[in-house]
């Protein structure tokens, strides 16, 4: 972890207006509500949380799919959150985003070859033959034959579509790739293949990953550092080993305890997991987790804990 961070997010917020039946705004959905994060070059940072915690929104806001409501996004030292549209588009060369199903990112009416040429047509002035050489090289690196260039997406299997989707993003040789739920819904053996592919690509292309997932086992295997989100805020950031062996935030503890582990104690025997996460439209005052926290006290309702250094990591809890 030397040098400057590749990505730095400072107090980022992304709010969505909630409208009633006639279209009047009745409130705000604070999907990301003051998040600060750092991603170092060549690392894989995991971002975990349950549905509604804002991790996907965070990824899309960093990517520029949503404009930030507040806060800063610094990429390679340069503020990009407030860039005008045209300049923001040029950042796409270095910062890319992989959807849960990368195959869906291909235009179904375009041949694979054409889809792969497109990123280069947008960002470079290479000639057709130069582009073709690049396309063939990348295709080989993701393990697909040249013959696929003349096929349409629906003529490939799901797994092959995924590789093409990844290849399309890699055409620009990005530095940072945001992976949004890359293994969600996949069978275990397919998941293993996909993760191996990601590892190999990281080596080949010197990539940095922001790995967003709700699957803690996968995150543990793939990520060196992990950040935990709850209701729009980061509650804990630590090295993976430290986080999984000795979680400090009460939510992290509950989250880890809830994950079924073969050979371990059965989670169903644990009593501490009750209640539902609060409605993200209706965030509790003070610490957001206090409604489900076994350690909650009066202080937690009055004062929101800041994310601060403790026990070799960052935790947002009054009692960590």
């Amino acid at each position: 972890m030397s040098g400057a961070p590749l990505l730095e997010v400072v107090d980022l917020a992304r709010h969505f207006p909630i409208r009633n039946a006639v279209g009047r705004r009745t409130g705000w959905l604070r999907a990301v509500d003051g998040v600060s994060l750092v991603v170092w070059p060549r690392e894989t940072l995991g971002l975990v949380g349950e549905s509604g915690c804002g991790k996907s929104t965070l990824g899309k806001t960093v990517m520029g799919i949503y404009p930030p409501t507040a806060g800063e996004i610094r990429f390679g030292g340069r503020e990009i959150g407030r860039l005008p549209r045209r300049e923001r588009r040029s950042v796409a060369r270095d910062l890319q985003y992989v959807y849960q199903d990368p195959g869906a990112s291909l235009d179904p009416r375009w041949k694979i070859g054409r889809s792969l040429h497109e990123p280069l047509q947008i960002h470079t002035t290479l000639s057709r033959s130069e582009r073709q050489a690049e396309v063939e090289a990348i295709l080989r690196m993701v393990g697909l034959p040249d013959a696929h260039l003349d096929l349409y997406p629906h003529e490939l299997s799901g797994g092959q579509q995924r590789r093409v989707g990844l290849a399309r993003i890699l055409m620009l040789r990005p530095e940072l790739v945001i992976l949004d739920e890359p293994t969600s819904g996949l069978d275990v053996s397919v998941q293993a293949s996909v993760l191996k592919l990601f590892r190999r690509l990281q080596e080949t292309f010197a990539l940095t990953y922001l790995f967003i997932s709700h699957d803690l086992a996968v995150v543990r295997a793939m990520c060196r550092r992990v950040a935990v989100m709850y209701l729009g805020k980061i509650v804990e950031v630590a090295d993976a080993a430290a986080l999984f062996e000795d979680p400090r935030h009460p939510y992290t503890r509950i989250l880890l305890a809830a994950v079924p582990r073969i050979g371990g104690p059965r989670v169903t025997a644990d009593v501490a997991l009750d209640g539902e996460p609060p409605n993200p439209r209706d965030v509790p005052t003070g610490c957001r987790f206090r409604t489900r926290c076994p350690l909650a006290e009066a202080r937690c309702a009055a004062e929101e804990p800041a994310l601060r250094a403790a026990a070799g990591r960052l935790v947002a809890c009054h009692f960590a």
Partner: protein, 341 residues
């Protein structure tokens, strides 16, 4: 004691544009009374089709080629379909679906939908009533029976820890969260006092903390009421949590079946071992299974896993191995089970 459910040599095919898909290939499995059996397999292994065959809700393109599905001694495939619909489906055998979001009609309150279920499937339903000739829409729902059913509904809603059950009945499905809806589905599965519940990946779509709650709830309820469960999942760890016995399927064939501890402690089938190995491990080591899941239209002969298996020999492709007992309830269908003489 005879098994509650006994599937023997079941083969099911589907007609598709590209040919006939042999989705289930002479499957046999059994569920004892009060037992929670986990049916584990990856997509395409046939676990959903098996559940549908037992319930008798296969789509029109499906053909049952052979086999029997014996429930409480009688073969469901041979019985009169009307009788099966009336007495078995939704009554003796109920179903918890995978997707809590689309399982309830958005137009009617939860109470209306549950009471509709009770009108037809209540354990208090009189046999004479079910044979009345009145058409379905105007069939009488006797007031005293309705009252008794409603009390039972509230009881079960309390048992699934639904807050404020009376109010809940008056709400529409979209006002419930995913976890709450799944509790409703569990309630609806328990209300007819079934002997067997087929749960099709009931926690896959839920967050992990909610999943833990639902699993615990389900296990407590079925053990308390001595209901058997056939629990389908692609997640081995979930099977570890609440199942008494685990059965592994691959490409339409069952490979291994054992009590949970024996299964996870010493799996014998090469596929089971590979499956467990491909789970992401904390040390970061990731192992996948080389090859692909075969097409069901032209599946490999014999044991369908043999093209991807490290231990395969000629006989594996010649004919499918029969089930072999490995002590206790542990059964495996393999010519070269690992760790066995």
């Amino acid at each position: 004691m005879p098994d509650l459910l006994s599937v023997t040599d079941l083969s099911v095919e589907f007609a598709t544009d590209r040919g006939v898909a042999r989705v289930l290939d002479r499957i046999s499995l059994s569920v004892a009374a009060g037992e929670v059996v986990g049916l584990v397999g990856e997509s395409g292994c046939g676990k959903t089709t098996l559940g549908r065959t037992i319930l008798g809700i296969l789509p029109g393109s499906a053909r049952i080629r052979s086999g029997a599905v014996r429930f409480k001694g009688r073969d469901l495939l041979e019985l009169d379909p009307v009788a099966v619909n009336d007495e078995v489906r939704g009554r003796a055998i109920t179903f918890i679906p995978q997707d809590p979001w689309s399982s309830l009609s958005p137009l009617f309150t939860v109470g209306t939908q549950i009471m509709e279920l009770m009108k037809w499937k209540s354990p208090r339903r009189d046999e004479r009533w079910s044979r009345e000739r009145w058409p379905a829409l105007v069939r009488r729902y006797a007031r005293d029976r309705r009252r008794a059913d409603l009390d039972a509904v509230l009881d079960v809603l309390r048992a699934v820890q639904m807050p404020e059950p009376e109010r809940a009945l008056r709400r529409l499905p979209h006002e419930f969260s995913g976890g709450q809806r799944q509790r409703l589905m569990i309630a609806m599965a328990l209300l007819p006092s079934p002997d067997l519940i087929i749960a099709d990946e009931p926690t896959t779509a839920l967050d992990v903390t909610i999943q833990a709650q639902i699993l615990r709830l389900l296990r407590d309820l079925v053990k308390g009421r001595r209901v058997s469960v056939l629990f389908t999942t692609h997640d081995l760890a979930t099977a570890y949590e609440i199942c008494d016995r685990v059965v592994v399927m691959y490409a339409g064939q069952e490979m291994e079946s054992a009590p949970t501890d024996a299964f996870f402690g010493g799996p014998a089938h090469p596929y089971t071992r590979k499956l467990l190995e491909s789970l992401p491990s904390p040390d970061g080591d990731i192992r996948d299974i080389p090859g692909e899941v075969p097409s069901l239209i032209e599946p490999p002969p014999g044991c369908r896993f043999h093209p991807r298996c490290d231990y395969a020999t000629a006989e594996c492709g010649a004919g499918r191995p029969e089930a072999r007992a490995l002590g206790g309830e542990h059964r495996v269908r393999c010519y070269h089970p690992v760790g066995v003489a």
